[in-house]
Every structure is written in C-alpha cells, then in structure tokens.
C-alpha cells in the first residue's frame, strides 16, 4: 500500500515537472508534423508479382474445346510434383550418392598415375596426356555439381570446391600442358623426370590433405519426419490447387465465357494469379524445407552458437512457415500477402493500422528520449539538488524508493504508449477507415498463426513499451552512479545512440546478438505481420530464439536492477 502511495507520489512529481510539459509539447509537435508528412500512397497491386495470366489464351482454350481453360494447368501441377519427387527421393539420389568415394577414387588414381609416370619415365607422354584429360573431367564434374539445380545430398563446403579446383588448376599449370611441351621434354628424359618430381614434391602435402577432405565428406540424409512433412504438405498443396482450379472453371463458365465485364475479368485474373501463386509458393516451401534441413545439418557441424541459429535458417523458416500456413489453411496468395507485409506490399488501401504504426514509430522514439531524460534526473538530479537527502531521511528503505521511482517511470511510459497508440488508431480510423483483414503472423521464425490486426497492434504497444522500459532501467542505473545530472543525462543518451547504431549498422554482424540492446526489440520475432515496417525497419535480427532472447533480456535487466539497488543502498549521501 505504502509502495503504491509512494509510486503515485513519484508519478505526480514527475508530471508536474516543467521539463515534462516542454518535452510533451515537443512530442506533439513531432507527431503533428509526422502526421502531415504521412503519405497514404496506393500500393502496387500484388498481381504484378505473378505473370502470365492471359484472358485471350483462356478464351482460345475455351473456344478450341480444351478440357481446361487454363492452358498451363497440367504443366504447373507436373512442375510442382517434380519438386515434391525431388524432395521425397532426396536420400536415394543415385547421381550424387557415390560422390564421396568417386571424388576420392578419382583423386587418388590421378595422383597414382602421376607417381607412376615419374617411376616409369618411358610412359610419361601418354600418362601426362591422360592425367591432363582426367583432371579436366574432374574439374568439369566439380563445376557441374556446384551449379546443379538438383538438391545435393552431401555436405560439401563451397570452400572445398574452390580449394579442389584451385589445386588442380595449379598442378595443371605447373605440368607441361601441351603435347609440344611434352615432346620437347621427351627429348631430355632426365629433365622431365626432375620436373615432374619437383611438382609432385611441392604439392604432395596439399594433395594428401585434399584426399582427407574427400574422405571426410558427409552424406546428408533426411529423417522420417521430414519425409512425412513433405508428403503431408504435398496433399495440402494439391488439394488447394484442385479447389482453385475448380473455382476458376466455375467462375469462367458463369461470368467470363460469354461476357467480358471488366470487373469480372479483373476478378478472374486475380483468381488465376492466386492459382499460379499457389504453385510458386509451394515450390518455395519445398526448396526452403530442403535447405533448412541442409543448413541445420551444416549448422550442427561447423557453425553453432550457443542456442543461436543462423540468420539464413531463421529467415528461411519464417518464409516457409508463412506460406505453409497459407496453403494448409487454403488462404489464397493475394490475401496471404496482405498479411505478409501489411503496410508496404499489401494490395489493401492505407488503413488505420498503417497510420497508427507510422505515428507510433515517431512517438516511441520521442518517448524514449523523454523517459531517458526523466530517468537520468530521478537519482542524479535529486542527489545534486539535495532532495535525495530529504527523501532518504524518511522511513522507507532505499530499495523501496528505487522501485517506486522505477515503477513511476514505467507507469508513465506504459500509459503514454497505450494512450498515444489508441489515439492514433482512432484518428487513423476516422481518416482512413479500419481494416478487418486477418494477419498471418510468424512467431519466432517457425510458428505461423492468424491474428486480428488489433491484437497485433496491442502487442506492438507492449513491444515498444518493453524497449522503452529497458532504456529507463539503464538510465536509472547510470543516474545512480553519478551525482551530476548533466553527466547522467549525457551518458544515458550516448548509450541510447550507441544502441541505435549497433541495432542498425551492426545488425547483420554475428556479435550484435551478444549485446543486450537488440534483444529489447522483440517485434523482430514476429515476421509475416506488420512488424517489418516498424521504425528502423532496416534492422535485421540475427536469429536468436524468442525464449533465449527474452531470457537474455530479463537476465540483463535483473543484473542492472540488482546492481542499481546494491549501489544505491551503499551510497553515502
């Protein structure tokens, strides 16, 4: 009770501060200016992303008595089924299955021949020619594998390809490469033997190493679960395609066949695009699923951070989860894309959420600046003005006082975020109208779900508040360390600027995940929804799991709070 009373008194004290009014004034000016700058531009139609839907072709098909109005229906389905087959037969691919041993055998025989050539100089000319040809075929083979469109079922680093090729090319460049050269050397057998021996000696260590690499190449095998998932997805994808095809035929027969009403034609074209998009997105899902498995395999072997995934896996997973959810739940591409990137690429017109998110980005930045200032003064300012002595002589533990001050700042921040968000939404609804479209959000790169845009909006507010609260706690910690409010404010702002810079400029580096700042931006865990257009939208989160990131953030906050209370308790005032 006393704590609540004290917190309330702290809140009143803060909101009566003249600087608070000045800053709130600046906040409103910034918001009003931003609101006027806001440009509700029409988004490009989603149809532009899928090409090839031609009404003329459909009419021709219809008039020529084809069984289907969609000329490419079978072709598209076959194309998709081929992708499924590739994934299903991945483990049994014969063309690459023996690669490991073949590379090893070829490599060994290549150098055995070279050794033989040196030992039996009379066969040198023929052998050198053979070696030359064999190395050419080996290089071609490497290149064909490297550039193959087929999924490759072995774990072969692209760097190894480069090393192999470079080694072979170097040896070939050192050897007498033309028949003329060889004939010339044939006249001086000793010179030839000496030259070949010299080449062999200089490359032997590298060759041995390459053979070892060949022998250690691992084969990738997908587990039963993966194959089940592919089969399951195939059923969903084909079912959706069948439904869409039937709907297309029906719509065509009813509305397009004898009457070219423009609106209906456009509607039909959209349906056709959705149909084609189902094939395209299904192919993306299949390839992503394969790549995720392969990257997971690779990650486990050579690139594993403690609990952190590779960004590539994370982004692949996010895209896969999104499309898979849309196809499994028979959500046409056009509607799914509305959700995928709510603000930028959606075919919807600007609505209240666009307006609210845009202004919340501005208000959140301003609120962070305001709250950091107030937090910086809450301890250092009061110590400097002698007010802390007045407070500390009251019957209240310093820990309680610390928490009352923090709670007051957090409460103001929360109410400000919530109130401003709702005001923006209400104004946005008056100007641009509300949207009833359901969003597909992808949580933590893997779990997709449908969510009403309002709840998405509420989470956005919480997310911004968490980030804001994090900087409040940091500013309070700094404020406790200093007795000079100017130092405290300046250092707190420097920390914030550092955080913004690392979150933007260094977002793609591996070590950024070890800094606490990026973990305060929890909206990054929600792909597929509107999050990508948050303020500082160029941030790309480097793939921590939500739970681990949250734990890291909580642990960091707990350490800051513990350190703050312990220092504050021990300070002589």
């Amino acid at each position: 009770m006393k704590f609540i009373k004290l917190t309330w008194a702290e809140i009143k004290k803060i909101i009566f501060r003249p600087a608070f009014y000045i800053m709130v004034g600046c906040l409103f000016v910034a918001i009003i200016v931003s609101a006027f700058i806001f440009s509700p531009a029409e988004r490009s139609a989603y149809t532009s992303q899928i090409s090839g839907s031609s009404i003329t072709v459909m009419h021709n098909n219809f008039n020529s008595g084809n069984s289907s109005i969609i000329d490419s229906k079978e072709y598209l389905q076959n194309e998709l089924n081929e992708e499924f087959d590739k994934a299903t037969n991945f483990n049994n691919q014969s063309n690459h299955q023996e690669l490991v041993s073949r590379v090893s055998v070829i490599f060994k025989s290549y150098f055995y021949n070279l050794e033989t050539a040196i030992e039996n100089a009379q066969y040198t000319t023929k052998l050198l020619t053979d070696i030359y040809d064999e190395s050419s075929s080996l290089l071609q083979y490497f290149d064909s594998i490297k550039n193959s469109s087929q999924p490759v079922n072995y774990l072969f680093k692209s760097k190894d390809f480069e090393n192999f090729s470079a080694l072979l090319r170097n040896i070939r460049a050192s050897l007498p490469s033309t028949k003329e050269d060889i004939n010339n050397l044939q006249n001086d057998r000793n010179a030839l033997i000496t030259k070949v021996k010299l080449i062999w000696t200089s490359y032997k260590a590298e060759v041995d190493n390459m053979i070892k690499v060949c022998e250690s190449i691992q084969k990738i095998e997908f587990d039963e679960q993966f194959l089940k998932d592919i089969q399951e997805f195939k059923i969903y994808a084909n079912a959706m395609l069948a439904v869409q095809a039937a709907e297309l035929e029906k719509y065509y027969n009813q509305n397009i066949a004898y009457d070219n009403d423009r609106t209906q034609v456009l509607e039909f074209r959209a349906m056709l695009n959705d149909y084609k998009a189902t094939v395209e997105t299904s192919k993306i899902v299949i390839n992503n699923m394969i790549n995720i498995e392969k990257l997971k395999y690779k990650s486990g072997n050579e690139n594993s951070y403690l609990g952190f995934e590779e960004i590539s896996v994370y982004k692949l997973k996010e895209e896969t989860a999104f499309y898979k959810y849309a196809i499994t739940n028979r959500i046409p591409y056009s509607k799914a894309m509305t959700a995928l990137n709510f603000q930028q690429n959606s075919h919807l017109k600007t609505n209240c959420y666009d307006f609210a998110y845009y202004l919340m980005a501005v208000s959140s930045l301003m609120l962070t600046i305001i709250m950091i200032y107030l937090a910086s003064l809450s301890f250092a300012g009061e110590k400097h003005d002698g007010l802390m002595r007045m407070n500390i002589t009251k019957p209240c533990s310093r820990t309680k006082l610390y928490f009352a001050k923090i709670s007051a700042l957090l409460a103001i921040s929360f109410v400000a975020h919530l109130a401003l968000g709702l005001i923006f939404l209400a104004i946005g609804a008056c100007i641009y109208g509300a949207s009833g479209a359901t969003l597909i959000a992808v949580f933590s790169g893997s779990k997709a779900f449908a969510v009403a845009p309002f709840w998405n909006f509420i989470y956005k507010i919480f997310s911004l508040f968490i980030a804001n609260g994090f900087y409040i706690i940091i500013a309070c910690f700094i404020s406790i360390l200093f007795s000079n409010p100017v130092f405290s404010v300046v250092i707190s702002y420097l920390v914030y600027i550092f955080a913004l810079l690392t979150n933007t400029l260094l977002a793609k580096t591996a070590f950024v995940k070890f800094l606490p700042f990026i973990h305060a931006e929890h909206s990054f865990f929600f792909g597929g929804g509107s999050w990508s257009n948050a303020f500082l939208s160029n941030l790309i989160y480097s793939g921590a799991s939500y739970a681990l990131s949250l734990c890291y953030l909580i642990a960091f906050i707990a350490i800051l709070i513990t350190a703050s209370t312990q220092i504050f308790k021990r300070q002589d005032l």
Binding site: L6, K13, M390, T393, P395, C396, D572
Partner: protein, 307 residues
C-alpha cells in the same frame, strides 16, 4: 526518569584514512532541546548523517526510540530531520511538496498537512510555488515536513544558516513554541552560539570528531561561570570600586564599559547607586557570551589535555 529518544553508542565514521567522527556516545531524552556545537569540520553534519541513516557508520550503533537505525523503516519513523539545508521540489507548491513527503508515511492525511502549514505560518501561501519562497519560509517549510509524522525526535542541522537576524529570531521562537506544544525532542546543530544558549536545555560540544563536553544550561548560567551584564558609564574606575564595595561584584573594564555578573533584581539598585554617586550611566545590557566562553574553554581544555 525520562525516556531515552536517541542513543548513540561508540559511533565512528572513517573515510579512507581520515576519521570524521570517533567513538561518539551520548543520549537524548524526551522533551529536551539539545544544542550540538562544533566548529566547521568538527563532525556535526557527519554525526547527523549517521543518525539519520544517510551514511553508514564504520563502527557503533544508533538507536532511535529503541530501534536500531539498521532497521531503517522503524527507526526513521520516529524522527523528522533537516540535514544541511531544506530542499524542495521548487516547481511544486508548498502543499504539493508536503503531500509528496507525506507519501512516505502511513498515517499522514491532508488535515495533518494543513495543520503543519498553519503551525509554520505558511497556510496562506500553501499554493505558491516553493521556488518563490524566501530562505526563512523554506526553513519553516522544512520544519513542517520534518514534523509531518509527529516525530519524537526533530533533528535540525544549522536551521538558521543563511537567515537574517529577523529570520533567526523567528525560527527560535518557532522552535520554542513547537517544543512546548508537542513535547518533541529537538537536536539542533548551529554555530550561532548565542541563539543556542537561549533555546537549548543541554549542549554537546564536538571537536575533531570527538565529544569534548556535555553540559546543561544551568551550568553556564551559574555565577562562577558567567558574565551576564555590561554597563556603559563615564567613570568606569569609580563605578568598579562602588560595585565591589556595595555588591561584592568583580568587574572587567574595557574602555568605558564594565562587564560583570549581576542578578536581574540587583540591576536597578546598581543603576541607582551609580547615579547617586554622580556617575553618568549611558546604557546597561545583557551579555550572552557564556556559552561561547564555555565552548572555547572546553576545546582549549581538551587540547591542553591532549598535549
């Protein structure tokens, strides 16, 4: 036997290698006004900070109404304090400031806040921003916030610092009034000794972080100790002889002034005696240097002892 309100036991504070206060031992009793005297840097403020929990002691204990200061919430519930100077949120009004400080206590309501504002004579200015207050008004508001929780011990560190003569008298009267009305124990540090002499019942002298002396008001008011009267005359030598002959009073002469101790009832007789002997009396007054003398003698005595 009077109740002990504050007990300071072997209290020491050492900063790195410098000892700020050393083995302080004293008690304050219910209802008394105790002056805490010391020169600048003697350790007055450090002692008060230790008592109010602003700094932690190196050794020793502080008990406020039987509660150890380590148990902050219970111990500090019994005190009201102004340490060094009263500071307020200048952008808030007096009432808002008191409301803020009241939030630290469980049982301080709006009536109590208004009562305190009336007590310190700031009720009519309660809605003015504290930034507009004079130093004297701030001191009074400081005392009001210190009395909010009806404390048993009021600790005032240099409450007359920066005040003009009128302000000092105002604060003195005010504290005497509070002491009478509330029976609160007042522990007051100041270096304006004449003011303390008029206000306090007991004195504690601190020098170099150590308590040098403790004595009551009666001690310095005793005949042997004090010179309480001066008289300005045209014939000081003759006047001195007359005082010795008729009243057995020894006096010290400084120019035309004579300094001596005289009971109040004898002062009229002295004037009559001098005028009847054709000595012009230009003025007679009180000399309030007894505490100063005592303070200086305490310090010197201890210094000699130390040597």
């Amino acid at each position: 036997m009077k109740k002990v309100v504050l007990k300071v036991n072997n209290l020491s504070k050492v900063y790195k290698e410098r000892s700020a206060v050393e083995c302080l031992n004293f008690c304050l009793y219910e209802g008394e006004i105790v002056g805490f005297i010391g020169s600048n840097g003697a350790g007055k403020s450090t002692t008060i900070k230790l008592i109010t929990g602003l700094i932690k002691p190196t050794t020793g204990e502080v008990y406020i109404c039987g509660q150890d200061i380590k148990n902050r919430e219970k111990a500090l519930a019994n005190i009201g304090a102004i340490v060094e100077a009263p500071h307020f949120y200048e952008y808030l009004t007096a009432k808002q400031n008191l409301e803020y400080f009241a939030s630290y206590f469980d049982k301080v309501d709006k009536n109590r806040i208004e009562e305190m504002l009336k007590l310190v004579g700031l009720f009519d200015r309660k809605d003015d921003k504290v930034g507009k207050y004079s130093l004297g008004m701030k001191q009074r508001l400081g005392i009001a916030q210190a009395l909010l929780n009806n404390p048993k011990l009021l600790i005032l560190d240099e409450p007359t610092n920066g005040l003009d003569a009128e302000g000092i008298v105002e604060i003195r009267h005010f504290l005497q009034d509070i002491a009478k009305k509330t029976n609160v124990t007042i522990f007051i540090s100041s270096h304006i000794l004449s003011e303390l002499q008029n206000l306090c019942d007991r004195f504690i002298i601190i020098d170099n972080g150590k308590i040098k002396d403790e004595f009551t008001k009666q001690t310095i008011s005793s005949k042997s100790m004090a010179i309480n009267t001066f008289i300005n005359v045209d014939k000081p030598t003759l006047a001195s002889q007359l005082l010795k002959a008729h009243f057995n009073i020894s006096s010290k002469q400084k120019e035309n002034k004579l300094y001596f101790f005289a009971e109040k009832e004898n002062r009229a007789k002295i004037i009559k005696l001098l005028t009847s002997n054709k000595i012009e009396v230009y003025g007679i007054g009180n000399v309030k240097v007894a505490l100063e003398q005592k303070f200086l003698s305490s310090i010197k005595h201890n210094d000699k002892g130390a040597k």
